[in-house]
């Protein structure tokens, strides 16, 4: 009995060492991540960039193309979520205004058959 207990104890120690090594010492490295994994505030700032560019370009296809890298959601949903975060984070009113305009444009936007290039 004592022999099995000792075996089990050493097994648990081995598991613990494996977990420490796999989670802490040498965790899985993500170096080529995609924008959809970005932290919420970075995503919101990216949407703000698109909104700033949209202000002068007024090209909804191009804006939707830029937003597409943030995930498979529709551009309207992406901008709407970012707008909520921007308000939560206390963005300046002028930035909120730009994001609202982009959100409105993206909610009305329909994919064109011609596509677009950045």
């Amino acid at each position: 009995m004592q022999r099995w207990l000792r075996f089990l104890l050493v097994l648990l120690i081995g598991i613990a060492i494996g977990l420490v090594y796999g989670w802490v010492i040498s965790p899985v490295q993500y170096i080529d991540t995609t924008p959809d994994t970005l932290r919420a505030d970075y995503r919101a700032d990216y949407v703000l960039m698109v909104a700033e560019a949209y202000q002068t370009e007024q090209n909804p296809d191009l804006a939707a193309h830029r937003l597409a890298i943030l995930g498979s959601q529709s551009p309207g949903e992406i901008t709407s979520q970012a707008l909520g975060l921007a308000k939560q984070f206390g963005y300046a009113d002028s930035d909120i205004f730009l994001m609202q305009k982009l959100t409105t444009a993206m909610q009305a936007w329909q994919p064109s058959t011609n596509g677009t290039s950045p």
């Binding site: 598991i15 965790p27 899985v28 932290r39 700032d45 990216y46 700033e52 560019a53 206390g90 963005y91």
Partner: protein
Amino acid sequence: MKRQIWELLLALLAGLGLGLLYSWVISPVRYVDTTPNTLRADFKDQMRAAIAAAYATTGNLERARARLSLLGDADSIQALSAQAQQMLAAGDSGQSMQQIAQLASDLGQPQVAAIPTNTLVPTATSISIATSSSSNLTTATLVSTGTAGTSTPEQQATSTPNIFASPTARPTRTPTAAPGAPFELVSQDTVCDPNVQEGLLEVVLMDSRRRQIPGIEIVVTWDGGEDHFFTGFKPELGDGYGDYVMQTGIVYSVLVANEGTPVSNISAPSCNGDNGTFTGAIKLTFQQP
């Protein structure tokens, strides 16, 4: 005794194997709140293009600089220039490429003026935002602890009185070409310097106030051929500088920004040096009226 040692060793290895299986395969570390510096190279390119496009609208160089710093490039200007060069080499000389070249050029400029503004750009370490309203002043602070892979970022929001807004420098914008004002040739010089590359065509563009202008396309044509290049890719030689290597014996015409009158009969000059004749360079200076 010997058998016991083997059993313990076996148990340790089995445990280690199970631990690694769990931590690497079944439940590996998941990164859901990544930072821009971990993005794949092509996504970083898209981020730079978006930053440049936003900068083209706002002219907020500090915000663009802060955003670029998140990408973790050793030299943001170099990264932007390289991306613009790659786009040009790929045949993409459109608006995006010019915006990136413009941003690269403006980042190389010394800051002249600073006007306090409220700006929010996320950083890897902390963000402080101060907003004012008629009734009260609030400060929201986002704190990220650690870097990806070592700890979980967390965000804290506090609401504390703060009478100071974070001042952000707003630089004087680098001049851009005024639309509808074609450049005029103001000087054409032959450069007989053996240290200058043979057959080099140097072009310098200035606005009406003699400030150099980057991001302008120069079209070079000859009998049976055409090529183009842009100013601003060698900021160390001037924002409005661009060059092209001419072939000996070919006569070129040079047109700036696809408007105005082309400068014709441009060819690599022959110069006399200590060691005999060599091919010199031509320097053309254009200015907007």
